[in-house]
């Protein structure tokens, strides 16, 4: 019961904030609503007992990427963009296609809801008490089977850092 309440609270906040984010005129307001969406997503991760991903989301996404976004929005002058039309000319087509896609996925989920063993609305998970400690399990897989992708990811971050510094430097 508590699980349900927590899930619906975080899911509701996430979807509401996401909807608000794509419709705000002021880019800082969009950033603030993206922050609340990311925090709600972190809550969903915590509810799924993925504690390390929860805190990684908060530290990296909210504490890192969103600070970067807010800085850039401040550097870029908002007041010109504030008075322009916010949506491009394809908005109705996009909305229609999105709703069609949503209906399709919804029908698929609903019609397979009671297939035994694979039904999408049947509870099917390992009970929470029997899960191994999350950080240790994650570290065990990350540094054992996925060591090469880990090293490649660190090279990727280095390349991104150097590239961003080079691009954003003032040409003297």
């Amino acid at each position: 019961m508590l699980d349900k309440v927590i899930f619906f609270f975080f899911a509701g906040v996430a979807i509401l904030s996401a909807g608000l984010m794509v419709t705000r005129r002021n880019a800082i307001h969009s950033a603030v609503f993206l922050i609340t969406t990311l925090l709600a997503t972190a809550g969903i991760f915590l509810q799924l007992r993925a504690e390390f991903i929860f805190i990684a989301q908060i530290i990296l996404y909210v504490g890192g990427i969103m600070v970067l976004f807010v800085f850039v929005i401040m550097l870029v002058r908002l007041d010109v963009a504030l008075h322009q039309i916010q949506f491009s000319r394809q908005k109705w087509v996009a909305l229609l296609v999105t709703l069609a896609l949503a209906a399709e996925v919804g029908v698929m989920l609903w019609s397979s809801r009671n297939v035994p063993g694979q039904g999408f609305l049947l509870p099917n998970a390992v009970p929470a008490g029997k899960l191994p400690p999350n950080t240790e399990a994650l570290a065990g897989r990350l540094f054992d089977a996925y060591l090469l992708p880990f090293e490649i990811a660190s090279v990727l971050l280095l390349v991104a850092m150097v590239g961003a510094v080079v691009m954003a430097k003032k040409r003297t």
């Binding site: 794509v22 491009s88 099917n124």
Partner: protein, 100 residues
């Protein structure tokens, strides 16, 4: 844990809202933020399946996606800053230097 259909529905809803943002918004910073939203939706999907199958590889991949999203946001915003310095605009319709 809830039955997995709920997480899939949430993930799909966030993905579609992000997709609408990418396609319809003119402000290119909001487009980048919508891309982050799409990546988050995929993360929810991965972590939900990792929980239901008891395999932590889904969370490992979600961690890589977070790192990758950070790198991509950094580079994308660097490009936006560089472009803004030249043309003083953040609206995607006005970024038409390559148009014939």
């Amino acid at each position: 844990m809830m039955p997995i259909g709920y997480y899939l529905f949430l993930s799909m809803a966030l993905f579609l809202i992000g997709a609408i943002g990418v396609i319809t918004r003119r402000n290119v910073i909001v487009v980048l933020m919508s891309i982050e939203l799409i990546l988050n939706a995929v993360n929810i999907n991965l972590v939900a399946f990792s929980r239901i199958f008891g395999d932590v590889a889904g969370q490992v991949f979600a961690l890589f996606i977070i790192a990758d999203a950070a790198a991509e946001a950094v580079v994308g915003l660097g490009i936006i800053i560089a472009f803004f310095r030249n043309r003083e605009t953040v609206l995607e319709d006005e970024m038409d230097l390559l148009k014939w």
